[in-house]
């Protein structure tokens, strides 16, 4: 049993995984306050990584026709339509009927019109410090790279599917017809060549920023302070805290509302954190079982 420390709490994942002389941990900072929802990141990712087509359907919810991160969508741009607009954390998102033939409120007359705001956010694998997907993988297909990211080795994965319900963010997914698990690789091949991941390279507004995680965290703190000073009190960071349930994310976000509004879990925890306790409970049950069997046979003979 590994000691509890390596299952929770802050740490630098690459050296922890045995890399000697690993460089700084690399990651993404996605600043949703400047995202314009152009989906260039989705397209660039598909192009570079040769991800099969998906999303050729209208979901009828906002302009998001990708729906979620899947085996065939490693970036997902969420569109949240909200009414009423800014000022406080709204109780929820609302369906404004877009996309429709005419802008919302056009047909209802002035009195019926409401203000609304749009939130867009490009979601991606979080490359967790304590990645549950990686820790539960029974084949060793998922591994930690020297950049601190989490990658599936497709020649090893046998499609057991354990990583999929293990991920607290619902990121990794099984590809139908292929059987294996797929997700964002943080463009492992590009990183090796000193390039920026395709999505960050393609983002026209620098909503997706790539770099050493320490640097990104500083930049993010500055940006939040700036937004607060400009009167956007809802701005907050998500996944930046090394003391959270997954030990902090390698890909973290600046959000303008509660995480669940964007389809993110409010307080994700890597289930592997509780492994020592869970094995202890199983051991107890196993002993009870053995004792019951013994008792059943040594009891009065019939």
């Amino acid at each position: 049993m590994p000691d509890g420390d390596s299952l929770a709490g802050p740490l630098d994942p690459a050296p922890d995984a045995g890399w000697v002389a690993a460089g700084p941990r690399m990651g993404f900072f996605t600043d949703t306050s400047v995202c314009i929802g152009c989906k260039a990141c989705e397209v660039a990712c598909k192009e570079w990584n040769d991800v099969p087509a998906s999303g050729f359907d209208l979901l009828g919810m906002s302009y998001d026709n990708t729906g979620a991160l899947t085996a065939n969508s490693w970036r997902h741009v969420a569109f949240v339509e909200q009414s009423p607009p800014t000022g406080h954390d709204t109780p929820g998102t609302r369906f404004l009927g877009m996309p429709g033939p005419r802008p919302p409120g056009r047909d209802t007359g002035v009195e019926e019109r409401t203000d609304f705001r749009w939130l867009m956010m490009s979601d991606v694998c979080k490359h967790c410090t304590h990645a549950a997907c990686l820790d539960v993988c029974p084949t060793g297909a998922l591994f930690r790279t020297e950049f601190g990211s989490v990658v599936v080795q497709q020649d090893i994965c046998n499609g057991c599917g354990y990583c999929i319900p293990a991920c607290p963010y619902g990121v990794i997914d099984q590809r139908r017809g292929d059987g294996r698990a797929w997700k964002c690789t943080l463009c492992y091949d590009r990183l090796g060549a000193g390039l920026t991941p395709a999505c960050a390279q393609a983002c026209p507004t620098e909503s997706i920023q790539y770099g050493p995680l320490d640097e990104l965290r500083e930049r993010a703190a500055t940006r939040v302070a700036q937004l607060h000073a400009r009167g956007v009190p809802q701005a907050r960071l998500y996944g930046h805290d090394p003391n959270d349930g997954v030990g902090g994310d390698g890909a973290f976000f600046l959000l303008l509302d509660e995480p669940q509004v964007y389809g993110l879990p409010p307080d994700p925890v890597a289930a592997t954190r509780d492994l020592p306790r869970m094995w202890r409970r199983a051991g107890l049950a196993a002993l009870t079982m053995a004792a019951a069997a013994v008792a059943a046979f040594v009891g009065r003979s019939s």
Binding site: L59, T93, P138, G161, Y162, R176, Q260, F297, G299
Partner: protein, 355 residues
């Protein structure tokens, strides 16, 4: 690639959900709050939550029926091996034989189910590349690898009496029974691990109602395994040897019922998926069958037919319970409510009382 749905299908279904009567896991107003806004909130306030268009946050398990079926066959193998070892040590050959043969059958079925469920079945042996204590599935692979051959040898030893007495077969006839004794005990020694690790397997996921149930799942599975092993004994053994199976049934049923009751009542909101829908029906059926099986086993003093029926009821109960627990978890992953509400509550408590 599988069949592509018609373009626009998702859109149409979404609009239907907005207009028509909403299923319980979809917010009637489309995105946003889970309950209709306006008017009185009839629900307890904490069930109110926001989500992204009512979509699940987690990916539900992609495991098909093979995995809950394996939960049953693995437990059946473990319970049968314990029954066989007991029969072996206390001189009850009918229990020993039935236990050993069932264990081999069940562990073979387990291996088939586990491989069949893989996305790439031909790569099943990749499981043997590593031994990872952080992966319950890897631990389980190694438990099965230790248990399987032992259970197999013990079962094969049962055919020794059919072998001719001369030549190579004769030697096997003499060597097999002692080897079978050792193997039978080895299988019984690993059996409790085989029956209970599956509790950790399910609990080490983000699936809310599985992870939340981690203290109880191994107990349920241990009880269910004992009860199914006892079921085999009740079906196979003559009335003179059935005593231990009856007591085993009682102990197993007690653990199974206690554990199932715990997940249905002690997890707060996360108990809900175990009491509603398919999971609720399966768990209720499991409870009824368990009670019937134990009752039958206790009153069937002299009747082999009644004993056998009770055994069958216990086996069916184990199947129902395993599928119930499985489906409860899947339902909890499909509805964002079970992800958001408990996590938000946890956050709120932490903010109210930092350390």
């Amino acid at each position: 690639m599988s069949r592509q749905p018609r373009v626009g299908d998702l859109f149409r279904r979404f609009r239907q959900r907005l207009d028509g009567p909403a299923p319980h896991d979809v917010p009637p107003a489309g995105p946003g709050r889970a309950r209709p806004r306006g008017g009185e909130e009839l629900r307890v306030p904490e069930a109110e939550f926001t989500s992204y268009y009512g979509r699940p946050i987690l990916k539900p398990p992609v495991w098909r029926w093979d995995i809950p079926a394996y939960l049953f066959t693995g437990g059946l193998a473990a319970g049968s091996s314990l029954l066989a070892a007991g029969g072996q040590l206390t001189g009850r050959p009918a229990l020993r034989r039935a236990g050993r043969v069932t264990a081999l059958g069940a562990v073979t079925a387990s291996a088939y189910l586990l491989i069949h469920d893989l996305g790439r079945p031909a790569r099943f042996h990749h499981m043997l590349r590593v031994a990872k204590p952080t992966s319950p599935m890897s631990v389980g692979t190694w438990i099965l690898s230790a248990y399987g051959p032992a259970a197999g040898l013990a079962a094969v030893a049962e055919v020794a009496t059919w072998l001719p007495e001369r030549g190579a077969a004769g030697r096997a006839r003499r060597l097999l029974p002692p080897a079978g004794q050792v193997a039978g005990l080895a299988a019984a020694a690993t059996a409790p691990a085989l029956a209970t690790y599956t509790g950790v397997l399910l609990a080490t996921t983000a699936v809310p109602s599985w992870h939340g149930a981690y203290p109880h799942l191994p107990i349920i599975f241990a009880g269910s395994a004992l009860a199914s092993g006892a079921g085999v004994g009740l079906i196979a053994a003559p009335c003179g040897q059935v005593g231990p199976a009856r007591r085993l049934a009682l102990a197993g049923a007690a653990l199974e019922l206690y554990g199932a009751r715990s997940v249905k009542t002690r997890l707060g909101l996360l108990s809900e998926p175990y009491t509603t829908g398919a999971a609720g029906r399966l768990l209720r059926a499991g409870r009824a069958l368990t009670v019937a099986g134990v009752f039958g086993a206790l009153v069937a003093r002299r009747s082999r037919v009644l004993s056998g029926l009770s055994g069958a009821a216990l086996l069916a109960a184990s199947v129902a319970t395993r599928f119930g627990i499985f489906h409860g978890g899947v339902a909890s992953a499909r509805d964002p409510k079970y992800t958001v509400v408990p996590q938000r509550e946890r956050l709120r408590r932490r903010q109210a009382d930092p350390d």
